[in-house]
Symmetry: D2
Subunit: 464 residues, 4 copies
């Protein structure tokens, strides 16, 4: 391999070893940044021309050349090579092949250190757009499913034990809330991404009368970095993206776990569409929710990338160190994983078959109305702790008899407390749901209101 970056090795007598060139090269993954790299170079070149640091005609030539290089890359006519180490040197070399020596002026008032910082910020900005889009699509799938199943009742669980009846729509909206927080976190992250680092040079700022505001404006940045050493060393925004992504995957893993549970023969609440399920190589009867399992499993991968980047950054002195090149692969894989997993799970939801009868039957069993019985007694004047005890004894009695609570007679109720009267028999799933009509509760009224608010939020009409 002939390493072509020898131009940066002015004072070196020896050549770079081939294996070393392969070890340090980043072009295999940073080629993903070609669009951002060229956009940044175009803005830089234009500014160099406008400020007279290079001639306007030179700037024009460079810009035209960069646009041509962009086309070549997109059409597959440009060859990116490991010999040129990274995307910056590849683009520069392609440019030189097109426009000759003047290409060398593009690197005026710029270093690879502030250039890569710029590329990564442009990339993360796009990644946030894409991620927020996928989150919104997921939220929409949740709302659609909830609206299509407004009256479906299921048992709410704590400790995976049936606890109290809830509306399925209420359940789905819990995930809507999680993904809404995710959206907000990415938006907050964007504020810190939205800073132009170019102009920081290698580390100390550049020694040319550049116009950073002009570049920022062309590239759509709101802010300009305030300290050159920090600007070339800062990878916080990558960590922050990955931390926000880790939470998305945590949420998805919870949803995926429920899809898997509910798809089991034991629960039988839902059936994943054939389009998102797989069979077995040996057991012909199997239908597996592999997509959900993978979404759950991929949470580990994203958590790992977060752990990796933190460990890599730990203890690095200022400013740029080559360790920081390790920021890219983990980030790229995180973006792909989060976006693909959101899309996949949204599709699973969009095509889900809901077995309302199985859900309702489960909600009706297991004494899920015992809290309502305790609440009944509280309303008759008992302190909650006392009422809780009586309801517990009732459950114990019913279980011993092999009965559900609704199968007990009033006489049996009254043997536990004289406060029970006929209306205790009115405690039903519907009554239980309706009783929880506090803001945020599972009462149909509240859930309908929440659905309307969620729709509004998705339409961009405020909320939050």
């Amino acid at each position: 391999m002939k390493v072509k970056t020898e131009q940066l090795r002015g004072r070196f007598a020896g050549k770079l070893d081939d294996a070393a060139a392969g070890y340090i090269a980043s072009i295999n993954f940073d080629q993903r940044l070609y669009k951002h790299d060229i956009a940044g170079s175009i803005a830089h070149a234009r500014m160099l021309g406008e400020t007279g640091i290079i001639k306007k005609v030179e700037a024009k030539k460079i810009i035209a050349g960069l646009n041509a290089v962009l086309k070549d890359i997109e059409s597959g006519n440009a060859k990116l090579t490991v010999e040129l180490e990274d995307i910056h040197m590849n683009v520069e070399s392609l440019l030189a092949a097109k426009i000759g020596d003047v290409a060398g002026k593009l690197h005026t008032a710029r270093s690879r250190n502030d250039q890569i910082a710029l590329d990564m910020r442009l990339f993360v900005r796009d990644a946030i757009d894409e991620t927020v889009g996928a989150l919104s699509a997921m939220q929409e799938a949740l709302v659609n499913l909830a609206e299509a199943n407004r009256t479906v009742v299921m048992p709410g669980y704590t400790h995976l034990q049936r606890a109290q009846p809830v509306l399925f729509a209420h359940y789905l909206l819990a995930y809507f809330e999680m993904f809404q927080r995710d959206v907000e976190r990415f938006e907050d992250c964007l504020d810190r991404v939205d800073v132009l680092p170019l102009g920081s040079g290698a580390l100390a700022g550049v020694a040319y009368p550049i116009d950073r505001e002009m570049v920022a404006k062309e590239l759509g940045f709101t802010n300009i970095s305030r300290n050159s050493l920090d600007a070339v060393s800062d990878r916080d925004f990558i960590v922050e993206y990955e931390a926000a992504a880790a939470l998305v995957m945590a949420h998805l893993s919870r949803l995926a776990e429920e899809i898997v549970l509910w798809s089991s023969a034991e629960f039988g609440f839902i059936e994943v569409s054939d389009a998102y399920a797989t069979g077995s190589s040996i057991m012909p009867q199997k239908k597996n929710a592999d997509t959900a399992e993978l979404a759950r499993g991929k949470a580990g991968r994203v958590f790992g990338h977060l752990a990796a980047v933190l460990a890599t950054l730990k203890g690095l002195p200022l400013a740029y160190n080559r360790d920081m090149q390790e920021d890219k692969e983990g980030l790229f894989d995180t973006v792909d994983t989060v976006v693909n997993s959101l899309n996949m799970m949204a599709s699973v939801l969009a095509t889900l078959k809901v077995n309302a009868d199985r859900m309702r039957a489960a909600a009706a069993g297991s004494y899920t109305l015992a809290t309502d019985v305790a609440d009944y007694l509280v309303k008759k004047g008992l302190p909650f702790r006392h009422a809780h005890n009586i309801a517990g004894n009732l459950v114990k009695y019913a279980a011993a008899k092999g009965k559900e609570l609704k199968e007990l007679t009033l006489k049996e109720y009254r043997s536990f407390s004289p406060l029970f009267s006929k209306d205790v028999l009115d405690i039903t799933i519907e009554a239980s749901l309706m009783a929880r009509s506090v803001y945020g509760g599972t009462a149909p009224l509240q859930v309908n209101r929440a659905l309307a608010e969620a729709r509004k939020l998705l339409r961009g009409e405020g909320g939050g």
Copy 2:
């Protein structure tokens, strides 16, 4: 051990095993929440009274009792016991001992699930306050040190190789920027902490006509949770605090690494005060910057807590699961570690002895002005890449002669390029610094402006 939470075991025939009681008890660490737990209970009781869910006189009695319990705990007169499992049951039991049966009414319209969610949010709110305070103090220490050393010059590094001269103040302000982003991240996190979960009950909302707004107002929350299932399952705000804390520790670990490096005999840039250094049990001459080393090492601990909480939350179905009890110890330790490490490092900075001469000598060596020589040629019309090559050859030549660049004659310069004229000898550290007068650069003018802005920001006069 007599487990006293049997009151929650109404339908159970058997007792809780002693070892199990110890395994599941959280009182050893959640006692840290006593203030928050009692504050939440007082607000809840007052609301129960105001809404008529319990009698006003009962509410008064409960509130008075809770205040008395608070005093007892703070004065060390209350005994918290493992037999009562957690802080909630301990407080309730202490309350019952004070005011009798009416204490049982406090748990009306509330579950331990929404109660602990509330306690944790109150705790994290306080933790953010404390953390942001410590960050600001650290920033102040950086600005103080920078102002006291406005003219000190040092080499900036990339790859730990001397790169270009920078002002020491500029270096310190790079850390100011990092901690400023940390402040913003915690403030963003606070928006998501600032949500009242109470009223969500165990998972479905409560079946009482409570007034959530009243409780929110008394406790100073801006928002009320929108979904009861989510409200009792959500630990995002803990993960988010820990992720922000991980970045603080990453920043501190970098600063600590520099303190250790600069304190070495080889660098000799600084001396850590005796007050923050230790000696050796065997080598009498040693002076070790242990405080900085620990701050660096403790980054690992905080990264670990973040990895832990994510792994713990992964794949949990809704709503509350006991796994979530594991959120506390890691968080508490994270808060303590971050705050103590910030304080310690701020003290190290406040008492640091700076060896300006050693710094300047280092900045003057190692051809740190080679970029300026290249820039000189660019300004005479050479493309940067060409200029860079010539400067590289000059360095190679000088190094072979055992000279620094400033020791070369004009004739020697001109043997590399006819563009060199007498003014090349004017390239000095000061000229190099002054040349980098772009916004964010290391020129004295820019650094003084940055210092003034930093001061303003610390005084709360905007910025960002």
Copy 3:
């Protein structure tokens, strides 16, 4: 706070700051090492006496003093103080109080660096003993439960879908295998723990004619460290313990997940004893397997400690750095968590109520014998892939009819393949189990053999 370690600060003019003393002190956690520290010191003192480095009578005095200090600590009569920073200085100070100036000779030919390395190795050696003991107890609980339920059948799952019938005992023995590998990993780790570091001094070896073999023998070490720089820098054995512990917790988390699933109303396979379950503060009917949930959740904590120690060690130059003090708390917590979680889960198993009927009913449903039908056809000469397809079509047909496979007539079978003859109706759960009589399979014969082997292994009669 009066810091008493000033004796190590010979050349310092200034005092250690109080907050710094608190920040760097380790006595709050390293006091756990008191026994190991004293045992190491006794062996060291005896050797110093035997080799004539100190007088025999001095050694005797020191040893007697150390034994007295040990008693004082164990009886609670010795006060360990933060002012003395760590366990070493505390013990030395207590010793000096007992025997006067001669105590100062104990530190001859020793540094805190090799001393703490020794203490940690002694501690981990004990920890491995304890952990392996807990693993064996867990294995015994599994075997006991399996033996008590030899004939119980349950569905085996893949993707949480019922796959094929298996013996419950076979299922339990899968966990036996996991814990057996854990045992082996700890035993391998022990080989690397079993190395005496004392004699390495601060980093270069000591300048006295010590007898390392004598010390190793007294303390029961097989090997002596071969490189002093490595010996004081090596924390591999801690990482290795934690990595092995992480796998134990991964195994426990899987078992715990099954306990939680099987305890759900939907599965109904088991009931956790009241002794290891909890109730709800609001829902009187609830019985939660909190112990299992905590064991599952605590896996995250142990994973976090592993991530932490690796991040802390990363990039530290030789030899000792204060960062390494951070190795202790995570390790101690890991040991406690692993041992307690193993013990707790073993107790849960020992008291588990198994609902064999529910398990068998589940094993009989969901077409779990479809593979056997395919195998049937293979034995009649069809290639497996073809047979698999026919069985799949049969399942599709039966499901559409709402029948199980055993409810189909021979005629119906034959409409899918003429290869079916009467004996296809003999495919039963028992036949399916018996057919899997390969070594390691679920056939009763194989499982009984495996149980016998497991018993043998537990009795220490070889295996592996």
Copy 4:
């Protein structure tokens, strides 16, 4: 995309969605297993023939076909496609194209679950071989460098403060020890990899009279798995490989940190060969040890993979779940990273230029002989603690005078203690080194012995 795995979807009415097929496909990465997959299939086919489960002639045909497929893949003549999901289905499809229907018999008595378990074990076995080879090469590079610099002296450090003089060779051998432990850990891991899982079927064992011993023998496995459920669920060996790899990277990161430090202008101990260094795009004078920085940074990546796989496995019920597919990419990347990083760093060492004069000068400064002065006094009868204090005061005095210890007069020495006599002036670096002649110490005698032992170990002549 036409998904060709429809053959596994016998009972499904709907097709797999294209995006889902892409999401679940593993062929993009598991194609790396083609050799292992085919080797396993050949052994399986041969056994099926020998046992009469299929006809011998069929087995022969299958084996010939598999060998042909292998050649096609290696020569690039076979196309692996996402439509066929994974390497198993791709190979099976290529086989069918070659030999027709009989290919369908290969899957008799086998499931993808035990097949992938086998492939991974074969892969990890190879990976361990390769990793141990790279470790040995690294050890050899260390020994070579040490032997070539037997007399070079440098300062040993603790807390990055100069502590005591050591031989450079001694320093290098510390790393030899670390990598030796790594070798042992991989060898221990191999014991647990060396288990044939085939025969476990999907989860319950297969229903055919297979001969597992025969397959084990052909594939070179010593052991056969004892429990089918465990065998298809076990990924311990992957975690264990990654944990061992994480320690290798921790060691490499420490070595890399030293390379970076020592290459700095401030240390100036070494110069990395041009072949393994890079220049700067903007600063012509720079020479950066990028290879070492990357090796250091890549530790984070490997730590992350370990965290990822643990999180992914946590809480999975038995047996196979699709989450487990996530085990591969992290493992593959770990193997590549560890092997490449070891090779790269070994090359850096092999070509390192050592500046013995700078090292010696550093060793002579900073009062590194103060411990020897204290030891001197101990030998004259002072308790160590007292001697330590006097040496500390001497250092303080000398530092105030701006002198090194060797520049003090005997009179000055005696003003601190009458025990000093003329021979105190004989304390030199050489004397200090020679004094540390304990086993494992830095005395030339000991280091030469250690070098000889290391050589012996590398030649495979025992050691440990």
